[in-house]
Subunit: 465 residues, 2 copies
């Protein structure tokens, strides 16, 4: 348990909170006027507005008597009222009760329809869909099913999102890292998978599953259809279950790039590969992180496994209901012709277009810094630049007893108030140094981040020349 | 993982769901007109109404623009509007963001004030309070911290709530059962604790913690101050951390009985005992099970332990925000003089008084059945009667390959539509048979349950005479 680490909310964030306290106490105590949290994909913390349709529906479900207040029904679009009434009926007598451990049946039906539509008609079974409090607990359930002890291994990308390494450590399993190719847009090579799998096998590790994060976190790459197909075929050949982290499926920015789900590709290929796929309301353009809503789809797994997932979910009784209903709105938004359609679509487009502009702006800025290279953020919410640190900086980090990239990030925080996460929290090739930053601050703030980072970086190089 | 069991949502409930499906398809397919779910403490599923003040506040926080709809602010009590505005300010820019991993600071402050008021002025530290998605995940965090392997043991009451046994099984620890004394109102004896502790020690088990559920689940007893004091002193002497499951603290019905928190008693005694105490919004008279809100207070634990709890919570990012805000309303309800005070208090009293009547009604009915005895439900939401089964019933169970008490419960379900949980799901002394039933159905339904159970039981005895 002590070995589990979770850098996204680690020492840097705790230091940022201390500095924020100082700043509140005295504006002159630090050399900046605000902390800008770029450490975590938390859009609404950085002023991304919630989607109106969602919040209107949820408020009426929370307090159905509002519908009787004169003026409310008239002030709300007709589809909001209709949707709220449908949910109130479907959850009668109250949306305040525990639901089925898998989640509300009608929400799972809507998720199944969403998946079928997304995947070109390949059907989904609502009984194999498990709603969850965000994707994280669902990933934990999946890993709990897979890991029986130290000799069970999970293939994990490097860099990776630390939920995986932390949970594997907690469950007493073994991480089997495979490296994404930074020189090739953080590409995933099946040859690398095979090599790491074979090495693990020689070391006596039974590789039970492969984690793929697409679009990538922290790396932002979007996999091609053909690459996904290769991975599916390889995993099926090696009988390795696939954990497909697809929470950024709606966050693909680069022209010509497109999200393909592993489920679609494996069905196209008629592959028997077992797969757990994860999605969340926290990302996309909804950004409802605080709701803790998500789902897992179990594909090609035995009924006995589905039973075990049900049992594990039962121990927590059920995912929270507002989170479940947020999933419902995510997978079944207003349709063309509905009263809210225009507004909803415009809000979604505005958030998406702005994310795309910010992704490009930030990557361009990072690439303009001396000794820094950054692959384009094709998707997700992050840039993951490599920083070539001068020897003097590495020596200074050594005296300070922190990793060199953490040293850089702490200096950045102390000088500018910008909070990012060192690459060592995600894993990186030895001798390389990175950090992860979100591009979630508002557009004017992204400009400020760019200005501050540029000035800091040049000062840092001077100081450690 | 396969050994974990969770009877509250086990085979009986799955059978009940099948029967419910049949009933929907054809009213004559089963010999009853509805399924009555008495298997789980889920008040709002059984038509307990939500508290108005809570739902009004949450709806405005969900959709602040409602405050601008003409008529809404006027239709809402002034304290609802003020409370919603305060929460909107405190969560700005949006209540849709991830919060601190421990939960929102202002909610934790309110929890600390609530605890201090409840415990006669003994203060609580908001930094040692961790908000959670209901009590269950917080219990899991506590057990994760405590269990390092098979030789670590947890003292667990028998009967117990199966969250504990299931989680210990998942974490690979050892259950060290201690028996509650059914003949003595399910009393907890320190002599029994000492005996089981010593036996475990002899067997090479390091007993790390003691679970006490007060008021009891499934047993309904309410511990006296003196009994709590004995337990505190024993646990401190044996250096065993206390897990105090106090989620039913607001559910004490028997005249003369009173809830005392372990925290209060250990502070009164100036005991250094380490304690994790759990509370939830799912129980009490709020019954907001679907919100998944709760908290854990860590008492007398090192900062290093607090750090580890923070880290484990961070991996899930944060508890869901509507659940956190429900905790806020639970611990800081309208006060005398507030516009909602009278209505809120009346709603709370009505629910409480009705629960009390139903507890008495159900226990009296159970005690009237031949061969059935039931301790009074002094607190919580359950009765846990012992049923003396005739030898022919035990033989029939054996042929059917189910536990005798499960056999009785299946027969009850098939005959009446009433879904209860066999005692074997909670643990019981060998050779005794029990079941747990909630007393949550509405008062007219409790009468129906009493009528149906009485008729079934007499028929069952006849059939197996």
């Amino acid at each position: 348990m002590l070995t589990a680490q979770y850098a996204v909310r680690g020492a840097l964030v705790q230091r940022a909170e201390v500095l924020e306290g100082k700043l509140k106490a005295s504006k002159t105590s630090v050399p900046f006027d605000e902390i800008i949290y770029c450490n975590i994909g938390n859009p609404q913390q950085l002023q991304q507005p919630p989607l109106t349709f969602l919040r209107q529906v949820l408020s009426l479900v929370e307090c159905p008597e509002l519908l009787k207040v004169p003026g409310v029904a008239a002030a709300m679009p007709s589809d909001v009222v209709a949707r709220a009434q449908a949910i109130i009926r479907a959850t009668a007598p109250s949306a305040g009760a525990y639901t089925h451990s898998k989640g509300l049946a009608f929400v799972r039906e809507h998720v199944a329809q969403f998946i079928a539509e997304r995947d070109g008609g390949h059907t989904a079974n609502a009984e194999h869909i498990f709603l969850s409090d965000g994707a994280s607990p669902a990933v934990k359930v999946g890993l709990t099913l897979l890991l029986r002890g130290k000799s069970d291994g999970i293939l994990l990308p490097i860099p990776q999102y630390p939920l995986y390494s932390a949970t594997i450590a907690l469950l007493g399993g073994t991480q089997v890292p495979y490296y994404l190719d930074e020189a090739n847009q953080w590409g995933l090579s099946v040859r690398e998978l095979e090599q790491q799998w074979a090495a693990a096998k020689r070391a006596g590790v039974d590789v039970r599953a492969l984690v793929v994060i697409n679009p990538g976190n922290p790396t932002g790459q979007v996999m091609t259809y053909d690459n996904i197909a290769e991975v599916v075929q390889w995993a099926a050949k090696r009988d390795v279950l696939l954990l497909a982290d697809e929470v950024y499926q709606a966050n693909v920015y680069e022209t010509g790039k497109q999200f393909h789900s592993f489920k679609k590709v494996l069905r196209d290929l008629k592959s028997p590969l077992q797969c757990f796929s994860f999605h969340s309301v926290s990302k996309g353009v909804m950004g409802e992180c605080g709701k803790r809503g998500g789902y897992m789809e179990a594909v090609n797994v035995d009924d006995a496994v589905v039973e075990q997932i049900y049992k594990l979910n039962s121990i927590n009784l059920c995912p929270n209901v507002p989170g479940q209903l947020t999933v419902d709105i995510m997978v079944k938004p207003p349709r063309k012709g509905d009263a809210s359609y225009e507004r909803h679509t415009a809000e979604m487009r505005e958030i998406f277009d702005s994310l795309k502009r910010r992704a490009e702006r930030l990557a361009a800025m990072l690439n303009s810094l001396e000794g820094v290279t950054c692959n384009p953020a094709q998707g997700a919410m992050y840039a993951f630049p490599q920083v070539r640190l001068p020897p003097k900086a590495i020596a200074a980090a050594k005296s300070a007893k922190v990793a060199p990239d953490a040293y850089y990030c702490f200096q950045l925080l102390e000088a500018t108030g910008i909070c990012v996460v060192p690459g060592s929290g995600f894993g990186q090739r030895d001798g390389t140094h990175h950090f992860r930053t979100t591009f979630l601050p508002r557009e004017d703030k992204v400009d400020k981040v760019a200005r501050l980072m540029t000035a800091f970086h040049s000062e840092f190089l001077k100081k450690h020349a």
